[in-house]
Structures are given as C-alpha cells and as structure tokens.
Subunit: 299 residues, 2 copies
C-alpha cells in the first residue's frame, strides 16, 4: 500500500525542488526531428507514428524531466493513434515513472457511477476479467469533470488515486458555464470548489488527495479558490502558450510549496521555436526557468 | 461526403422502424457464456479478455441489433483493457456498421479547444502524422460534456459527427450541479439546453446534428427540455436497469420519431437473468419490447 497521493506529491516536490508539471501533448505531425526517425520501418501509419511519439516523449522527459516533479500526458493526443497510441501512452507512463516523475493522466473523465468506476480501473486501478486481472495505466492521479455530481466522482475518490477536478478552466469559453451566477450569488465554479473541498481528506502534509484544476489564465480567481479549498492541490494549466504567468499564481502556494503545480506543455516542448537551438536544451531551460520562478514565489 | 448525422439517423429510424440504441458496456468478468471460450488460447490477460469482449459484443449485436437503430459503446469499458481494449472497440464498431447500425461513441469527452480537436480526431476523424493519415474510430456520433463552454464544443461540432451533449443526466448526483438554480431563475441544465440549441443547424428532416443527453430517470424535465431544444435529438439513457420507463418519454418524440433515442444496456444484455433462457433470445425479446413501446408512443 503506497502513501496517499498528497503525501507522495508533497515529498516529491521537496525532494526534486520543483512544482513544474511537464505536459505531454504530442502532435504526431510535429515531433522533434530527433524523434522522427523512429517512424521509419515496418507497421501501419498508426504504429509508426506511435513509435515516434514515444521517442519524442522519451527525449522530452530526459531533457526537461529533471526540472519537473510530474508529467501530465494528454490522453486525447494518444487516443487519436488508436490501439498503438494507447500502448504508446502506457510506455510513456513507464518512462516517466522510471525517471522518478509522478504521472497525472489528463483524462477529464466524468460519467455515471458504474462507468466512472470503469474509468478509474482504466487509469489507476486494475480490472478483473475471465482471463485474469488486467492492469490499468498506473497513473498516480488524473483529471476529472464534476458536471455529473458527487456520486459520479465517488468511484474516482475510492480508487485511491489523486484527483484534479475541473473547477475553473483556462479557456475563454470557461465563462459560459463555470462563471454563471447562482441564485445565492455564488458562481458555478465556486460551488464546484465546495464540492472538491468536501470530497477530500486532509493528509498530514496539510494537503488533500482531491485537488482542483484552476486555469492560470485567470489568476484573479485564485484567492477566492484558495479560501474555498484551503487544502486542495491546484493544478495550474495555461502558463506560457495560453498566456498565464507564473508570477501571478502566488495564492496557490498558501498551504505550502506542493499546493500549486505549474503545468506547461507547448511552452516547454516548443521552446526552441522561439529561443532557437536544440529542442532538448531549450525545453530544459524553459522548465528550469518556470521551476525557479515558482520555487521563489512559494518560498 | 456523407449526409448530415441528423438526416442519416432520421432515415435509419424510418428504415429500421426502431428508435432503440443498444448500449455496449461489456464487463470482462461477466460476459455471455458463449463468448467466454474466445478467452482461451495465447496472449496476455488483456488480449484474451479483449477477444472475449469482441465475441460478446458480436453475439449481442447479432441477437439484439436487428431490433435497434444504433449501438452505443461505452468507452470506459474498453479502455480498461488497455491497447487490446481499444483495438476491440474498433473491431466492435466495425461489426455494428456491418450490421447496418449507426455508432454513438459514449465518450463524454470535453476539453480545452486544441485537445477537443484531438478527441474529435480520435472518435470521428483522422489524424495527420509524419507516417501518414491515421483513421479514428469512425463513430457516427459521440457524447460530450459541456462544462468547458462553447469554444470547447466547437471542434466537436466542426468534426461533422453527430453530438449528444450532456444536459440532464440519469444519476442521482446529477442534481448537485445540473439542477442548481441560477440568478435568473433557470437551472444550470436549462442553460446547457440553450447552449445545445444554439450550436445546432436544423436539417431538412427537422432535426439538428447536435443532440442532448436527457436521462430517462427524470422524465418530468422532458417537456421543458423539448421547449428549449425543439430540434435536438434526445439520447435517453436510464431505461430499465436504472429505473426509467419508455412510457414516460413521449415529449422526446415531438419533432418526429427520430427525436428520441431510447438507450438500454444492462436491461438488454442481462435480460436472460430475469427472464431465463438463452441470453441472445432474451436480449432480442427485450430490445423488441422497447422498440414496440417507443414506436407506438412516437406514432
């Protein structure tokens, strides 16, 4: 029985001196040149592209991983390569774990309770079958959508994995539903925040296994979000390519350094496009830059 | 270029004289006895279980499919078998298409716009890669979660696939978020319904490609939902095992027979557990029973 997610994350943040999460959103048409060669050889287009995707992620993890505490593979980017893509995802998760990184599966799943249980098996559990137990992806945590309510989140919580529930996302359309004003004066996202707060058990590190996705593009929400969810770990996407700035995220770190995870994908993987030079060196430099800003902010 | 989804569905409902959608939620520990033999032979537990899942779905589609207009595979149930599960899903979709059935991928995806585009590629499109174009699952339609707002749904709409957006789901926890009262007096789900109505283009058959998931367990919402979404196709889960009754669904059919799709999974696949007899015969009888009630209601 491994320690609770919040505790493992807290230890990893301290041990690796990083709160940076490396987003893995591989575009199989635009991989690093050094990875493209892996697409040569036999196989269907999906198999060949999946090999190159694994190689791209391997190089990215090797280069930027040492400056990070976790990776966040975006499931859509693997699923679009079919079964070979799902196998690639499993392989990439193994590579990240071998590098000492935690894995947050960016799945944004949400479904009615029996189906939610099946997703939990797929992402972070095992599945009993007539041919024996089948292991899932082995993610340490995953992202979840709360629109279906508390009973639909319960199987995710019961899985023992860490959870990052969508509360206020980083896209402009987030306002359409999440910012609607409720009869009592609160916004929908504030109610989602209350739901997150009620789901989580606080661990000795002061944090809960049930965290929240809070887009870094609207940092004005962070003080209120922290008030409503004093123990939640905030997963903060939108830094870099989407316009969010690490400097604006200070309230996330109120409960300690592991209280805020700065996630960046394109700004790390495509750093060489603006800085020039080797993709791996540029990726490492950008991850290192984010790491230092966040560490100072949260100190 | 195939016809718009609403038109194809409308034609299929008329041609097959059915509004029943066969849910495919295979539990790899509880498959039909006739399918279990497929798990023998070589391979990992996941590969063996996936073979048996395909066989189970093949038998179910052969037995109940002729009484139905579409199948609705539940992605979680396949994903939990990893890459072999994803391959099984692709195979099952092929079997359904061969049987003349439309395919609604029950994915409940929702993500920020670039990621939503990747999900659309995975489910109903193709993906350009450095090794050539990779086909997706080829679903005719899929389910989607609207919590991230209109910009996150736009890539789904642009994919040309049919869409069923969660509006009011069939689980008890649906009330936690979807039934919250907004400042103007409406419920959150009513706002989601307006969003659905604005997204869809009405086809000559009188229906829109953008439909709504409306749980059959709370039929009291259907008249209002129909008012807000006069042209949306309602996907109505929750009949049977979850307690919904076809007899209560009449308002769904106001715009025509294809305006409401009665989806049933366990009540068809496990019909033999209550009725006794051969699983295939019991499944066919239950699908046929639902078909006749819905057809009469909608006439």
């Amino acid at each position: 029985m491994s320690a609770p997610f919040a505790q493992r994350l807290s230890d990893a943040v301290a041990g690796r001196r990083s709160q940076v999460v490396l987003g893995l959103d591989p575009d199989p048409a635009q991989l690093w040149p050094a990875a493209a060669a892996a697409a040569a050889g036999p196989g269907s287009p999906a198999q060949r592209a999946a090999r190159a995707v694994v190689e791209h992620c391997r190089l990215l993890i090797e280069a930027a991983g040492p400056a990070c505490v976790a990776v966040k593979p975006q499931l859509a980017c693997f699923e679009r390569l079919g079964a070979p893509g799902w196998a690639a995802l499993a392989e990439v998760i193994g590579l990240a774990h071998s590098g000492g990184l935690l894995v947050i599966a960016d799945a944004k799943r949400g479904d009615f309770p029996p189906t939610a249980a099946a997703y939990a098996q797929a992402l972070a559990g095992t599945t009993p079958t007539l041919a024996g137990e089948v292991p899932g992806l082995g993610a340490d945590a995953f992202t979840a959508n709360p629109l279906l309510g508390a009973d639909a989140l319960a199987p995710f919580v019961a899985s023992g994995a860490g959870l990052f529930v969508l509360v206020r996302t980083s896209n402009p359309g987030a306002a359409d539903v999440q910012d609607l004003e409720l009869a009592g004066g609160e916004r929908v996202w504030e109610r989602l925040a209350r739901l997150v707060h009620e789901l989580g058990e606080v661990r000795p590190c002061g944090l809960s296994d049930i965290g929240a996705v809070m887009g870094a593009t609207s940092p004005q929400h962070l003080p209120r979000a922290r008030e409503l969810m004093p123990h939640a770990i905030f997963l903060l996407p939108g830094v870099g390519a989407q316009g969010g700035r690490v400097e604006d995220l200070a309230p996330a770190f109120a409960p300690g350094r592991a209280g805020g995870l700065v996630t960046a994908s394109r700004s790390i993987a495509a750093a060489h496009e603006s800085s020039g030079g080797d993709p791996g060196e540029a990726a490492h430099a950008e991850a290192q830059r984010l790491r230092e800003i966040a560490w100072t902010l949260a100190g």
